[in-house]
């Protein structure tokens, strides 16, 4: 019979990934929270500041505290996470991933409930850049500016690599800049850097910001650099209330939404389904939602409450 809160009594360790209150992490967290309320498991949250080392340590601790399921990211990589996955399943803990996949472990433990909910990073990066190149009518030899996090651990950097690969395929000249620490934490801090870079390269056609915080801040950057809306094609990752505003104002041209809320919600559902009913792992792609001026009106209110 259908029951409310049918997942009660199940203990889950959930990893929103970033810092508490961070842009992307908070959407994932909201997804987790909704699932927690709907399904009724007992959830412990671990915030990892996007630090693979920290996340690994926390996963170990979660395993040590004897939970029933772990919903976490795969961005620490197969080599690092694999042994812990094995240890978890040995102890009967259901391990599932969101946002970044662990294909080998998934193959091995899918029947025991290992699943994946998310947008593969490299593909998402490649898709966004290709779409941006198409819309901005990018020609071979044109300049693009990619502001990303190639140096970040594991799979996370792959998104930036995907973006760069897509542009290079078109034959564009890519100016790559790693996001510095201060800007990574506070997007405003990057204003002068952006102005300087655009001043040195005034003929940049497309700017890609591979970071939710920076994406939400392109309006500020563009104004500071004296750019009119639409003068440069801005493309970025992750919706946020601020990005919606930038799209409405015309600064932001294209955002790819990975739907992090879904990633949180469904990965928790995945654990519950397996734990209670023995289903095998889900594999769900949440990518592919481009947001631009045409559909931002629908997304904006949801972004304001950090569901999109």
């Amino acid at each position: 019979d259908p029951t409310p809160k049918w997942c009660e009594g199940v203990k889950i360790a959930a990893f929103p990934g970033g810092p508490q209150g961070g842009v992307f992490a908070n959407n994932v967290y909201n997804g987790f929270r909704q699932a927690e309320l709907d399904l009724g498991p007992e959830v412990t949250y671990y915030f990892s500041d996007w630090d693979p080392n920290k996340m690994l340590t926390q996963i170990q601790q979660a395993v040590a505290t004897g939970v029933d399921g772990i919903a976490t990211y795969g961005f620490a990589g197969e080599a690092a996470t694999g042994p812990v996955v094995q240890q978890a399943f040995d102890q009967g803990i259901i391990f599932t991933t969101l946002n970044t996949a662990l294909p080998d472990s998934e193959k091995k433990y899918s029947p025991q409930g290992f699943g994946f909910v998310g947008a593969p990073n490299y593909d998402a990066g490649f898709a966004l850049a290709s779409e941006a190149a198409r819309r901005a009518n990018l020609q071979s030899g044109d300049k693009v500016f990619v502001w990303g996090l190639k140096g970040q651990g594991g799979d996370r950097g792959q998104r930036t690599v995907g973006v760069i690969d897509a542009f290079e395929k078109v034959g564009a000249e890519v100016i790559y800049q790693e996001i510095d620490q201060a800007t990574n934490a506070d997007p405003n801090a990057g204003t002068a850097t952006f102005v300087g870079l655009m001043g040195a390269n005034p003929d940049v056609k497309i700017v890609v910001t591979d970071h939710g915080g920076l994406t939400s801040n392109v309006g500020v950057y563009a104004k500071a650099a004296g750019l009119e809306p639409g003068q440069v094609f801005f493309a970025g990752f992750d919706m946020s209330p601020n990005s919606a505003q930038a799209i409405e104002q015309g600064y932001q041209s294209l955002v790819i939404d990975q739907q992090p809320f879904l990633q949180g919600y469904l990965s928790m559902l995945n654990i519950c389904l397996t734990k209670k009913y023995g289903f095998s792992g889900l594999h769900i792609n949440t990518a592919g939602a481009f947001v631009d001026k045409s559909n931002v009106a629908a997304v904006a209110p949801l972004a304001a409450v950090e569901i999109r």
């Binding site: 201060a182 934490a185 002068a192 952006f194 209330p241």
Partner: protein, 341 residues
């Protein structure tokens, strides 16, 4: 007779008279460093650095941490440090948001509550440090988590949009340029002048130096060390909230993570400005200049065409060279030997 004695003596062991130059050695050091760096940038990226836009960008973003650095200079001169200001930034701005965005109160009430929160946080820091004589470096790591945790609980981890439509006065005061001049830097100048007077022309300021130099001597001469230190921490608290408001209004949005990433820039500005870690010496002007140097380095490097992972390397080089240069110039001006033998 005593006066005669002193007057009658030939002052034959003076090499040259003490100069204004020497007294202001540390400020001149950092100013020279700033000039050298500016010239290098102009040479490396003339198109960027002859355009007013880049200066406008510096003028908008540097005060976001520079204002805290100015106040932090006081705490450092007293021989202490405050690592909790990024959290205070967030907590105070959160208080503002709760009062205004959620509570619907007018903006000035929100500002008052925000600054009050900052002062309270500073008070707690100050009392723990000065009253219980707990090393500030440890305890402010602790209170940093405390304030940040409180803020996250209050905000439940979500941010608040601060658009110009909802807060027109705030945007006028804290964001819109005044006669084309970035208002952020205007604020920074006003605050720097006020703090300069506070440090150099009030008893409180005089005591800040004495307490940082030798707290036992200060106490022996009747200075209330606890009160002086506590007030210095409160000043940082209030200025942190000011900076938090400035930053959030600038980005049209209050992030619960506000303040992350401010720590190193702010601290580096204070110390690059010539304020001593050991307390007892420091200057508002030094911090002011150093803040703009720190605020400009990254953009300067990037516009000079250094890209990708080389920027961090270059950033490190520039900082190290600046610090060394500043020290060398300062000692030259003061005619001290470099190694002190």
């Amino acid at each position: 007779m005593v006066t005669e004695t002193a007057g009658a003596k030939p002052a034959n062991n003076r090499v040259s008279p003490p100069s204004v130059l020497r007294r202001h050695g540390s400020q001149l050091g950092i100013i020279s460093v700033g000039l050298v760096m500016w010239l290098s940038f102009v040479i490396a990226a003339p198109t960027v650095f002859t355009n007013v836009k880049i200066y406008a960008a510096f003028a908008q973003t540097t005060p976001q941490f520079g204002i805290i650095a100015l106040a932090l200079t006081f705490v450092v001169i007293t021989g202490e440090i405050d690592l909790s200001f990024p959290s205070i930034m967030a907590l105070g701005t959160a208080a503002f948001c709760i009062v205004c965005a959620y509570g619907g109160m007018p903006w000035y009430v929100g500002l008052a509550v925000g600054f009050g929160t900052g002062a309270l946080c500073g008070l707690i820091n100050g009392l723990l440090v000065a009253k219980l004589a707990i090393p500030s470096l440890v305890i402010t790591i602790g209170t940093s988590f405390l304030y940040r945790g409180l803020e996250l609980v209050l905000m439940n981890g979500t941010g608040v949009p601060l658009t110009a439509e909802d807060f027109p006065e705030m945007h006028d005061i804290f964001r819109e340029p005044v006669l084309g001049f970035p208002v952020q830097t205007l604020w920074m100048i006003i605050i720097a002048v006020v703090l300069w007077v506070l440090l150099n022309r009030t008893r409180f300021g005089a005591h800040v130096f004495l307490v940082g130099d030798n707290p036992t001597s200060a106490r022996l001469m009747g200075i209330n060390v606890v009160s002086v230190k506590t007030r210095a921490f409160m000043l940082v608290g209030v200025m942190a909230v000011f900076a938090g408001i400035l930053t959030s209004i600038y980005g049209y949005y209050f992030w619960p993570t506000t303040g992350d990433g401010f720590l190193l820039n702010t601290i580096a500005s204070v110390f690059l400005g010539g304020t001593s870690v050991f307390g007892g010496t420091g200057s508002v002007i030094g911090t002011f200049v150093a803040s703009y140097i720190i605020g400009a380095i990254n953009a300067g490097i990037v516009s000079a065409g250094i890209n990708a992972f080389y920027t961090q390397l270059a950033f490190g080089f520039v900082i190290v060279i600046s610090v060394v240069l500043q020290i060398v110039i300062e000692r030259r001006i003061r005619r001290q030997s470099l190694t002190g033998r």
